[in-house]
């Protein structure tokens, strides 16, 4: 039975994980996402669904525990915030290089360094451009509500297993900490070992009636490594073709476009209303997948609008991808407060006026 609850975004992640049959969570406390593990420990799902929850000694250990579980075909996840996600980059590139599905949640805070515990969106580059070493991509989902925090857990696992690749839920301190009404899904049973062996024959579950399975990212022979990288790239192109997700708000007659994700997109919804009340026809395009990025849809608007404003709580990261999509057809500017500060809807409208309307 679906259930309606008032809860924090971080709590919703944990609730959704238990309900959609996740097998394991490994994590390490860090603000502003500690409620994820706290909620899991409080719910004690090992007594009900059999889900494993373990507090590791570090984010490095967490992500490598995830690697071990993922290698067994289990649905395992971790969560952290920016500095902790930096520590996990080694594990994430090994997961991608070994083609292991898993879910990582980043409830972003301001950086660089230890930074601030306040919300930010300054981990965009780290999320969609690499983060760790080597040519790999993370399927990156950006929730803009507590409901999406819950819904994206299962979606992220589905995509991760479909493409045998880690998936990232890129949230921020606003979505993680705020409370909203959320409709929680029904409890689904965890996959059985037999189901995993049948559907994910690469999983290491003990060599029985088959050749041995080896989970690895080592290919010492350059030709083999190159061929493997081609295979990865082919997979990424398929993902780009099939998995782009975005939402449009009042774009039909728009002369200007806000491009914003996550909490910035929520702020921009209000900015659209303020701008329209002033007679400025502006719409909002909200990328839901940051990778694969809605390049084609943004390019489509490049032929329709007079300019775009990429609104992010960073010094300007996603704006580069918006510009690449637009190919110079219209001006693309960036606006955003950062370092833990959050822009107001009014500030966004003012930026639109100053950067695009008054030129």
């Amino acid at each position: 039975m679906r259930e309606l609850k008032l809860m924090k975004g971080n709590e919703a992640i944990a609730e959704a994980a238990i309900r959609c049959g996740v097998d394991g969570y490994f994590g390490y406390p860090i603000t502003p996402q500690s409620e994820v593990m706290e909620t899991l420990m409080d719910q004690a799902p090992w007594k009900t669904t059999g889900m494993v929850v373990l507090q590791a000694e570090s984010e490095i250990a967490s992500i490598n525990m995830v690697y071990g579980g993922a290698g067994c075909g289990k649905r395992v996840m971790t969560s952290s915030s920016s500095p902790g996600i930096s520590l996990m980059q080694e594990g994430i590139t090994y997961l991608a290089g070994s083609e292991l599905p898993c879910v990582v949640v980043n409830v972003v805070r301001g950086g660089p360094g230890l930074g601030t515990i306040q919300p930010a969106q300054s981990d965009y580059f780290q999320s969609v451009k690499g983060g760790g070493h080597g040519d790999y991509k993370l399927i990156t989902l950006a929730p803009a509500s507590v409901q999406e925090m819950a819904d994206f857990v299962e979606l992220a696992f589905d995509l991760a297993f479909k493409y045998r690749n880690p998936a990232l839920i890129l949230s921020d301190g606003v979505i993680g900490q705020m409370m909203e009404k959320v409709e929680l899904g029904e409890y689904k049973p965890r996959w059985t070992n037999e189901y995993i062996e049948e559907n994910y024959p690469w999983a290491t579950m003990g060599k029985k009636n088959r050749e041995r399975n080896i989970i690895t990212s080592v290919q010492l022979e350059p030709s083999v490594q190159e061929a493997f990288n081609h295979k990865l790239q082919k997979k990424y192109r398929e993902c780009e073709e099939n998995e782009v997700r975005y939402e449009e708000y009042m774009c039909e007659d728009a002369e200007y476009l806000f491009v914003a994700y996550g909490s910035s997109a929520r702020i921009c919804q209000k900015s659209v209303e303020i701008a329209r009340s002033k007679g400025i026809k502006v719409g909002l395009l909200r990328p839901i997948t940051l990778w694969p990025f809605p390049t084609k849809q943004i390019a489509h608007y490049a032929d329709k609008v007079k300019g775009m404003l990429s609104v992010e709580m960073s010094a300007g990261q996603m704006v580069e991808d918006v510009r690449l999509s637009v190919c110079g057809k219209v001006p693309v500017e960036h606006y955003g407060r950062f370092g833990g500060a959050i822009h107001s809807p009014g500030e966004v409208v003012e930026a639109l006026e100053n950067k695009l309307l008054k030129v």
Binding site: V52, S58, I60, M65, Y67, G68
Partner: protein, 254 residues
Amino acid sequence: MSEINSIISPENIVYQKTPLLTDATMHYCPGCSHGTVHKLLAEVLEDLGLQETAIGVAPVGCSVLLYNYIDIDWQEAAHGRAPAVATGIKRLLPDKVVFSYQGDGDLAAIGTAETIHACNRGENIVIIFINNGIYGMTGGQMAPTTLPGMKAATCPQGRDVSHDGMPIKISDLLAQLPGTCYVTRQAVHTPANVRKTKKALRKAFENQMANKGTSLIEVVATCNSGWKMSPVQSNQWMEENMFPMYPLGDLKDE
């Protein structure tokens, strides 16, 4: 000669390669202890009937390609992370038999935290630790276990303890933790030592099957290329120099 030919017949075999070892030629240098320990590991897994339930975690270091040599399921871990990877596997598949195989740099330098905490939680796994006092794969650099005065590529004048500290006796540290049930230090340079190490490995896997906690088998080993000696000289040098710092025997057996 005809007498020999009559002896060489299948019914007279007293020692042969276990079928759990693959036909791949090991990439190790002549006389490398890794090969001997791999063989013992394969033999013990075969003796205990664990081929279908064992999942091994290979390290980064010379034994990075260990998964090519033993015919079971494997995961390759990042440098030092094998105990965390093994933790993930064992927690998700508690009915499987899980072990990590790690060198001194992997276990006692870059992976110290993962090692100590896996042992402290008493993860029900086996950790096989090869201590040859040097980084073999990267070309013979100083390891956390390099002996005082011992020469290596990054301490060409010999390890200066005033500069680099003393070698870490990590097994002694791990034996202090309540999560470990069995910590032993063995070697594989003589037939008698090989037999003892095999017994220790067997006990470690039996501990896991009995849910007793973490078992750690340290094997004091040679790296004749890194040490720049012949395999036979290395064995002698190990007895004279390594064993006084790393004495063989059980450190804990509960």
